[in-house]
Structures are given as C-alpha cells and as structure tokens.
C-alpha cells in the first residue's frame, strides 16, 4: 500500500474541532500527519482536494444488509460498496437476517463477509433475544467477543419491559448499548403509515405517534432503573424528542438517532400510494420533522443513521398495505444532510459531519470518526457544492427503493478511504 497525500482540501475534523485548509498524509493505513504543505514521500500518490472537504469517514449505526437470507435484495459486499460510495467508512448491520445474527457464529459470519468485501467496515449488531422472538437473551458476551458492537431486536421492539430491563442490565457487563426500535405493537398493528389526515383520506390504517412515544418512555424509565445505555433508533416524532430531552436533562445514558428521510419528508409523500414512502417508523407530520431537525441542532438527537433497508424491486411493486417497509439510504444520506440541514443554516457543516461520524463512532465505541494522527485512515473527500441527481443506475446498492430518485442533492462523494485503502473513487469511475 503506497502512501497517500490528500492535498489542499478543507479539512474538517469534529473530533478535534478543527476546520481549515490542510493536507492529510496517510501511511500504512493510518493518519500520519495533518498540516500545511506536507511534502510527499517518493512513491506517494497525490490526491488534489482543492475546493473539496476532507473529513473523517461517515459512520452509520443502523443499516440492513440482508445477508444471510435475502441476498437478492443486498449482500454484505454490495451494502459495504454502497456505503463507501455514500462516504461511509463504517456501518453497523442490524441482526434481522435469516438466520438472525444471534450467536457467536452468525456474528462471525458477518465479520468474515465484510473482510472479504473490503469496502466499508461492517460491524455486526447482535440480536437481543434468540431469533428476535422476544423471549430468551442471546449470548451477549460471546457475540461481543466475535465482533458485535451493540445488541438490538430491530425490525421490531424489544418485546417486553422485562426483557428490556434484563438486556440493559446484562449489556452493562460488556459496555455495549441496547438499540431499540420503539414501537408499541398493539397500537401499531396493521398500520401502513402515520395516523393523521393523510391516512384518513387514503383509507390506510395509521400508526399513531403514541406507538413510538410509549416505547421511548418505557426505555428511558428502564435506562434510569438499570443505569444501562439505551440507544433509541430512528426517532420520528415530536413527542419522542421531548422525552429524550427530558431524559438527557436527568443525566440518563440515552442516545438517539434520526434518519435523513425523517428530517426530509412528511406523510404527504404517501399520497398516490407510493410504496417508496412506506417505512417504519412512518413519515410523520411537518411539526414532527421540525422537532427532529431541532433535536439534531441542539443535540437531543445525537446522530444521523440511514436505516438503509434494501428491498427487491418487485416486493415494493405491489399494494401499499402489502409492501415492505423501508428505503435504501446510504448513498443519499450525506446529500440530504447538506441540502436539508446545512444549506438552510440549521447545522454548520462541521456539526453535520459530527452527527454523521464522530458522534456515532463514540456512541458505539467504534474506531474512526477522527483524523487524529495515528487513527485508522478512514477518510471521506467530497465536494459540498456539487449538485447531482439521484439516478437508479448510479446507485451501488443491489436495491434502488428510494423516494429520492430523480431528486437533486448537494454534495457528492469523490473518494472514500478505509484504513488508507481506496474503497471508492468517483474520478476513476471504477470499483477498486
């Protein structure tokens, strides 16, 4: 692996609160130096980053890679490629595959597949309960040893208060968070979209905001009871943001994420029964979207996660009620963050990058999210001003179920380095 000199970019490192034009020198897969006018060693490749932003690679705590079991929708390799193309150097794979990632062996499988793919780093999240069936705890210790960084029953909530309590207590031993998909299933049952005026008009069964908020409240109360770390996935409602704010004021170990689609879209997008607007939690109302944005601004919502959920095209090509939830998000997350949060002045560019790299890396205690000397060279280079149109044929994911197809986004990834190796280089237009 030759040395790399990334020259003349605007280097933003939220981990050290630095922002300025500099060079970044990468040697042996690590950040060797950051500073002005670094000379290139003989044999080093030089990348001209003038006019571009150079930042720690993005970190996504919440993706679905579908392997094993649903490889027609995505594999660990295609998901890791999609991540690199979106500027992500580390992603955390939810365990709702077939079989479920609920043992040392299945965690090990994800790790091995990711190493073979050699694109973005993939960190497995183990299931909380065996088979995600909400009954018996999985072997957290064994899974952590094999590489799991958190536990979650995502796809569904941690089923009972008792299971959540024991999971939070038991997870403390291993220093990992319990990530929860907050949904009261009895309230949400049969729901296809947010409960409100649009669901009333379309005649679709609604999922009330209360279904999420009840579980957020439960998890916060149990975090207080146990002292454990609960990480709240894909927050979507105004009420959830208020509850988290309250929890943080009390000093509880509660962290939260929000998705680009929840800070961008509202339930109006379901008009016309577009199944690419069907997700869980559902797209909510304008006031909810605004609360999510404010939460990201004031830090109540700690980080942005894509909830990348690939589905084969023909499973989305059906009646709204029967279509699966979720959209692909790895390749549109940065562009939406720039267009929706930075350009309107809600977040500064360093703040956005903090919420997409440094902060999520800290929440799951992952390496990365920093350009500190000696850190692994996980780096993204992008042009924040470049506008581009999301086209189906340009996406690297195996699935293209996105409501943003045809939209113009800001900020296009030029280069993604993972451990000093080029995982994505748009100028070469080839998969390296």
């Amino acid at each position: 692996m030759s040395d790399l000199l990334i020259r003349g970019g605007r280097v933003i490192d939220p981990s050290r609160a630095t922002d300025g034009v500099a060079d970044v020198y990468v040697k042996d897969g690590k950040i060797e130096a950051v500073g002005r006018n670094i000379p290139a060693q003989p044999g080093a490749s030089i990348i001209d980053a003038a006019g571009k932003v150079v930042a720690p690679g993005l970190v996504d705590l919440h993706v679905h890679l579908r392997e094993p079991g649903f490889e027609h929708a995505e594999t660990i390799a295609t998901g890791a490629m999609s991540a690199a193309a979106g500027g992500f150097t580390a992603i955390c794979a939810m365990p709702n595959t077939d079989p479920v990632t609920d043992s040392q062996a299945t965690v090990g499988f994800v790790v091995r597949q990711a190493i073979r793919a050699a694109k973005a780093r993939v960190y497995p999240i183990g299931a909380v309960s065996i088979g995600q069936n909400g009954e018996q705890l999985t072997e957290f210790g064994e899974m952590v040893q094999a590489g799991a960084v958190a536990v979650s029953d995502d796809g569904r909530p941690v089923a009972t208060s008792h299971l959540m309590r024991t999971a939070l207590e038991y997870a403390k031993t291993f220093g990992i968070p319990v990530a929860d998909h907050c949904e009261d299933m009895s309230l949400a049952k049969g729901g296809a979209m947010h409960e409100g005026i649009i669901s009333a008009r379309l005649g679709l069964k609604g999922i009330p905001s209360a279904a999420e908020e009840i579980m957020v409240a439960r998890d916060i109360i149990l975090a207080e009871l146990t002292g454990g770390h609960v990480h709240l996935c894909h927050m979507s409602t105004k009420g959830s943001v208020a509850l988290i704010r309250w929890a943080k004021e009390r000093g509880l170990r509660v962290t939260a994420e929000a998705t680009p689609h929840h800070f961008t879209l509202t339930h109006e997008r379901c008009e016309g029964y577009d199944t690419n607007a069907k997700m869980n939690p559902p797209l909510r109302e304008a006031a909810d979207r605004e609360a999510i944005r404010q939460g990201l601004k004031d830090g109540t919502i700690d980080c942005i996660a894509s909830d990348h959920a690939p589905h084969h095209y023909d499973t989305k090509e059906r009646e709204f009620d029967d279509a699966p939830n979720g959209i692909v998000g790895l390749e549109t997350a940065l562009g939406l963050g720039l267009r929706e949060l930075v350009e309107p002045g809600l977040l500064s560019l360093p703040d956005l990058l903090a919420r997409m790299s440094t902060v999520p890396a800290r929440i799951f205690k992952l390496p990365g999210g920093t350009l500190m000397v000696g850190a692994p060279a996980d780096v993204v280079v992008f042009d924040p001003a470049e506008r581009w149109t999301v086209r189906r044929e340009d996406l690297h994911s195996r699935s293209t179920n996105s409501p943003f197809l045809g939209e113009t986004l800001s900020g296009r990834v030029q280069l993604t380095l993972v451990g000093g190796r080029v995982a994505y280089d748009r100028s070469n237009r080839q998969i390296l």
Binding site: G196, I197, S199, A200, R201, L202, G203, L204, K205, G272, Y273, D314, E317, R318, E319, F320, D321, D322
Partner: protein
C-alpha cells in the same frame, strides 16, 4: 366553455371536480329510463370487453355492474379471487400485465387494499373503475347516493347529510364525504369515537357524537354497515350495545323535527345499525339506491368508453 370529461379512470370522487360529478349524475338520468324498457339494452358499448375483477366477495356491486355492462351491450367476464390464478398467489402487477396482454377495454376492480385500483390504473392502458378499494373509496356507491338524494330533495346544495356508523373503515363514507362536499352539502359523521377518524374535521366535516343529535340536525341519514369484525377487533363492546346507543330506530326517528331520507349502502344488519321498520319504512330510499346504482354505473361506463384505449395506435393511458 368545454364540456367536462372523465378521463381514463374512475378511482374516487376526491379527484373529481364538481362539474365532473354533475356530468355523471346528469348522464345517469336517461339511463334510468333504459332500465324501464321492455328490452333493457342499448348498443352503446357493443364490442367493448369488460372484466369485473373482484378480489373481495361482493354480490350487490358485482351484479349492479354486470347489469349496467350488459344493458350497454358490452361483453363481460367475471373474475373472482377464488378459482383464479389470483388465489394461487399471483401478484396484482402480474394480473394487470395479463389483462393488458388480452386487450381488455375496461376493468372494474374490487380489492381489499386501499390504492389497489390506482395501482392497476397506473399500469394498464384500459379504463379502470374502482368498485371499492380497501377502506379508501367506493365512487359509484357515492354517486348513486348523490343521485338518490338529488331525486328525493331536488338538489344537493345546502342539504344536511349525516353519515352514521363505522366511518373509519368505510370506503362508502369517504366517497360520500367528497361527493357531498363538492356539490355543496353539509356533512356530519356520527358514531362511536373508536370508529370516527378525528381528522375528518380537517376535510370540512363535523362530528356529531350522538345519534339523537344527528337525527335532529340532518335532512338525510346514510347509515353504514357495521362489520362484525369490528367487535372482535375491540372497537365496540357488543352489537347489542351498538344498537342501543347508535342504532337508527323508529323511536329515535319519530322525534326528528322533519322527515328524514334513510340511505344504507347494504347489506344491512337489521337490528344492529338499522331497525327493520326503519329500513322498510316510508322514508327509506334504500331500494331506489339500488335502482340508481345501475343507472349511475351505466353512465360511468358510457362516459369512460369514449376515452378508452386505442390499441391500434398504441395510444391511451400511461405507458409503463
């Protein structure tokens, strides 16, 4: 001013203009007369092929459509979910492609999922008529209710209509609300709060919680069918209590300040949402509704036929 037309499909009343709704009602008038003839058949749709695609069991609506089609001389085929490839797990998109390949002129679809009619209409060039999609809309039922009210009161504008019962799960309620509001009626909904979506007020509809108050307010009651499943799903405690609290009974009607018209889309649960002596009473227009159903459906078929697909030129609707 150009005459309004209907376009390719009839998916719901929400998307229609007032002029389009009135066009259908006015066109239905001469078709009432056709059904009174000894030979109840005109050749208007001779040579047109129509598929009645019913994914949900329905006797009344299917027969009404079938009569309407036959009285217009169309060739019709009925496809029911049981006994077809649909029950073998064929997806709606495959069904659509097969219909497309058979060069069908029109499809009348009844389906359990909201949006299914639009899904089909977006994918085939044939005219699509929604005969009820999930809990979304049932536009021809809404139209026949409008025609019945217009027959009874002379006009819709200014009329006070209360829609009573399970509004939450009712496609009839939604189509009625849109149609009535477009033609200038005042609309209220009445029923247990568990079965009334609170957001309906945003549509311009008022909520009257008690049936006695709805009867005192309204010129006409459109009484929805209460599905037995609602009790099992915990929306109401029992049919008995529903009748006690929300049933339209002769005693309650007797206290009305004026004579109300009583509508019901059928099939009725006598003794639950409506008592027999109300259903069979002098103010019931339930059977005229059925008669008007055929005329309205003839009008819709006739109006859409002109905008039908031209297979020779490959024109017609959206090509996907």
């Amino acid at each position: 001013m150009t005459e309004p037309t209907l376009g390719k499909d009839l998916l719901g009343l929400e998307g229609l203009t007032k002029a389009q709704v009135e066009l259908i009602l006015d066109t239905a008038e001469p078709f009432k007369e056709v059904s009174e003839r000894a030979i109840k058949k005109v050749p208007a749709l001779r040579g047109k092929t129509i598929v009645n695609l019913f994914f949900e069991a329905s006797t009344r609506t299917r027969i009404s459509f079938e009569f309407a089609e036959k009285r217009l001389s169309a060739d019709t085929v009925n496809v029911a979910a049981s006994g077809s490839s649909v029950s073998k797990g064929e997806t709606l998109v495959d069904t659509a492609r097969n219909l497309e390949a058979m060069r069908i002129d029109m499809v009348v679809i009844r389906h359990g999922s909201s949006g299914a009619a639009k899904f089909l209409a977006d994918r085939i060039r044939s005219n699509v008529i929604n005969a009820g999609d999930g809990t979304h809309e049932h536009p021809t039922q809404g139209l026949l209710d409008l025609l019945t009210l217009r027959d009874r009161f002379g006009k819709i504008e200014g009329l006070k209509v209360a829609i009573c019962g399970d509004v939450l799960h009712s496609r009839v309620a939604r189509s009625n609300i849109w149609g009535l509001l477009k033609l200038g009626a005042e609309v209220a909904v009445c029923g247990p709060a568990t079965l009334i979506p609170p957001q309906v007020v945003e549509l311009g509809v008022q909520i009257i919680p008690r049936i006695e108050d709805a009867i005192a307010w309204a010129d006409a009651l459109n009484i929805l069918r209460l599905q037995l499943e609602r009790m099992q799903a915990g929306f109401i405690p029992s049919l008995r209590e529903y009748n006690r609290v929300f049933g339209v009974t002769r005693e309650r009607l007797a206290r009305a300040p004026k004579e109300l018209a009583i509508l019901h889309p059928g099939p009725m649960n006598r003794g639950v949402e409506i008592d027999s002596d109300v259903a069979d009473g002098p103010h019931s227009v339930i059977l005229p509704q059925v008669t008007n159903g055929v005329a309205v459906r003839m009008a819709v078929l006739y109006l859409l036929a002109g905008g039908g697909p031209d297979w020779r030129s490959g024109g017609g609707g959206d090509d996907r």
